[in-house]
């Protein structure tokens, strides 16, 4: 039934006008800021304030990257962010995998109540939790330590991961573990030996999402850290100095911040996208 026979010039112009052109425009709009960040990071502070604006730097310089690590010790916030993101990911994944397994494999009294409890969690405004968490962290002397952020981040990572993992798990047929359990394996053994290998890619994808969120978070981080425990997003903002903004440094820092997350994201993309969209599509 495909109408390939009229694929003449007319169809070609149609495709250019209504497909390739708008896609190009979208890509330019969505990616230009990144191009601009990269270009800015390769300029010197004089070049940045030069008119007319240079769109393709003829002699790119890596000065701002060097400056960032030597003068501003950017490695320090990178290390903090890595520690916080990894710890948040490990804790959230462990806790959420257990809970998601419970929801998808058991029908028990109060299941709906508990599920809605986790579901509703995502609705509370950040600022609602931020204020009491600040005072609580302050009174238990955790404020300005990395752990205050790890705990705060679990407020959104755990409910979200449970939801995501529950979706993945519900798609895996029960028969997989049942077969193992009939053969005499205990439930934990069936879970670890049979289900885990299949689920692992999904757990990793969820982990990437948690890592991304904790790596990127700013609102909690700026109030809950000091100079010692500062994370990358806070450090980036700190480069907006009192003597005017050093855009070349911010851009260099931005490039460094975005690259690791982008790489991780591309590896996890397929599963992450299918997991995220499943709920909304099925509905």
């Amino acid at each position: 039934m495909r109408k390939t026979y009229i694929k003449g010039n007319k169809e070609k112009t149609f495709r250019v006008l209504f497909l390739y052109l708008p896609i190009m425009l979208f890509l330019i709009f969505l990616l230009f800021p990144f191009y601009w960040m990269l270009v800015t990071s390769l300029k010197t502070s004089q070049e940045i304030r030069m008119l007319p604006i240079v769109y393709f730097p003829s002699s790119p310089s890596l000065d701002s990257y060097r400056y960032l690590f030597e003068q501003f010790n950017f490695l320090h916030p990178l290390r903090n962010s890595l520690f916080i993101a990894v710890l948040t990911t490990i804790i959230s994944l462990t806790v959420s995998t257990l809970a998601a397994y419970s929801f998808s494999r058991f029908r028990f009294k109060g299941r709906n109540f508990f599920m809605s409890l986790f579901l509703l969690n995502n609705m509370f405004p950040t600022v609602l939790l931020l204020i009491p968490l600040f005072t609580i962290m302050r009174s238990i002397k955790l404020l300005y330590t990395p752990y205050s952020l790890v705990l705060s981040y679990t407020t959104f990572t755990i409910p979200f991961s449970i939801w995501l993992l529950h979706g993945y798990l519900s798609d895996l047929p029960l028969t997989i573990e049942e077969a193992a359990m009939v053969d005499g394996a205990s439930r934990p053994k069936a879970f670890l030996a049979v289900l885990m290998p299949i689920l692992l890619p999904c757990i990793l994808a969820t982990g990437v999402y948690i890592f991304m969120q904790s790596w990127n978070e700013y609102t909690f981080a700026v109030l809950f850290t000091n100079e010692k425990s500062r994370t990358v997003p806070v450090a980036l903002k700190m480069l907006v100095g009192s003597f005017g903004v050093q855009w070349e440094l911010i851009s260099a820092g931005g490039v460094i911040t975005v690259i690791p997350v982008c790489i991780m994201f591309f590896f996890a993309q397929k599963r992450l996208v299918s997991g995220l969209t499943a709920g909304a599509v099925k509905g």
């Binding site: 495709r15 990127n216 499943a278």
Partner: protein, 304 residues
């Protein structure tokens, strides 16, 4: 024989306990970092609680609430409420519109579609602060690239200080949040599009339906649920978003971009926790009212 029997009883008991046991760690966290803090927030909202003068803290009943809603500061609250409505309406609306168009495009077959799809998702994984800073630099009034492009193409004659001007500040931050949210919308709608049966379109083709008619009578109705869920999620998310506005305009100029979330965040940063908590509770209640249909929808899906 006896041993086997007691074992099976033990197993049965374990079977009942298992699901709760597995939930326990997650529940522990939720109680610790969500439920308890919300109770604390409620308590704070009835107090005069300022961390800079703690010795003066005391319960003041509904005073915070009455001063927010009816007192001398109520004007600020309602001004921020209006800014929030603008921010959410245009922000989420724009994300939907452009995200929908992008999804329709990505649903077509063309060479390099996979790469285009991956690339267009990058804004979504970029930290909010960085987005704010990147766009502040683009919008810059002196050396910003947007001014340069607009002057070069003859659209404007004089440079505009986009973020410092009362008329252009809100459109600028809204553009930024639209840019950030397009990928998520496109992603969700694209998944929805790929779920629509081809038979429907083929049947419409036989009846001689136009592209436009197919969009209105097949595509959009089939996407109803996807659009609904995604829009609701985005409304919650954009309402709660602080980092973009906070780092671009900090609510200015002259409070033109001070949404409720930003306002509350500013008050909390000043350590005026009682008053800020009361505002946060009001915001939560407002958000709950808006998202009632979403909650209902989610609950009805729980059974599945």
């Amino acid at each position: 024989m006896k041993n086997v029997l007691s074992n099976s009883i033990k197993n049965k008991k374990l079977k009942v306990v298992w699901p709760y046991l597995l939930l326990l760690p997650a529940l522990f966290f939720v109680v610790l970092v969500v439920a308890y803090p919300i109770i604390v927030a409620l308590k704070l909202s009835f107090m005069d609680y300022d961390l800079t003068r703690l010795y003066k803290s005391q319960f003041i009943g509904f005073d915070n609430y009455t001063s927010i809603l009816f007192g001398s500061t109520s004007k600020r609250f309602f001004n921020s409420l209006m800014r929030t409505i603008e921010w959410v309406f245009f922000g989420v609306g724009g994300q939907f519109l452009f995200g929908f168009c992008l999804a329709l495009l990505l649903n077509q077959y063309f060479k390099g579609r996979g790469i285009v799809r991956s690339l267009s998702l990058i804004p979504w994984v970029t930290p909010g602060v960085l987005i704010a800073l990147m766009w502040s630099w683009i919008f810059d009034g002196n050396f910003g690239v947007l001014n340069d492009l607009l002057i070069r193409s003859g659209i404007i004659n004089e440079k505009i200080a986009f973020l410092a001007n009362k008329q252009t500040a809100m459109p600028s931050v809204v553009t930024t949040i639209i840019w950030q949210g397009i990928p998520f919308f496109a992603l969700m709608i694209l998944a929805g599009l790929q779920n629509i049966s081809h038979d429907l379109y083929e049947a419409a083709d036989i009846d001689g339906a136009t592209v436009w008619k197919k969009l209105i009578y097949i595509t959009i109705p089939s996407l109803k649920n996807t659009i609904f869920v995604t829009t609701m999620l985005r409304i919650i998310w954009v309402t709660n978003s602080v980092d973009v506005i906070f780092n671009m305009t900090n609510g200015g100029p002259a409070n033109a971009t001070r949404t409720l979330s930003v306002y509350i965040y500013q008050e909390a940063s000043k350590l005026n926790m009682g008053y800020a908590s009361a505002m946060a509770i009001v915001l939560s209640l407002l958000l709950m009212v808006v998202t009632i249909p979403y909650v209902r929808n989610s609950f009805s899906n729980l059974e599945k």
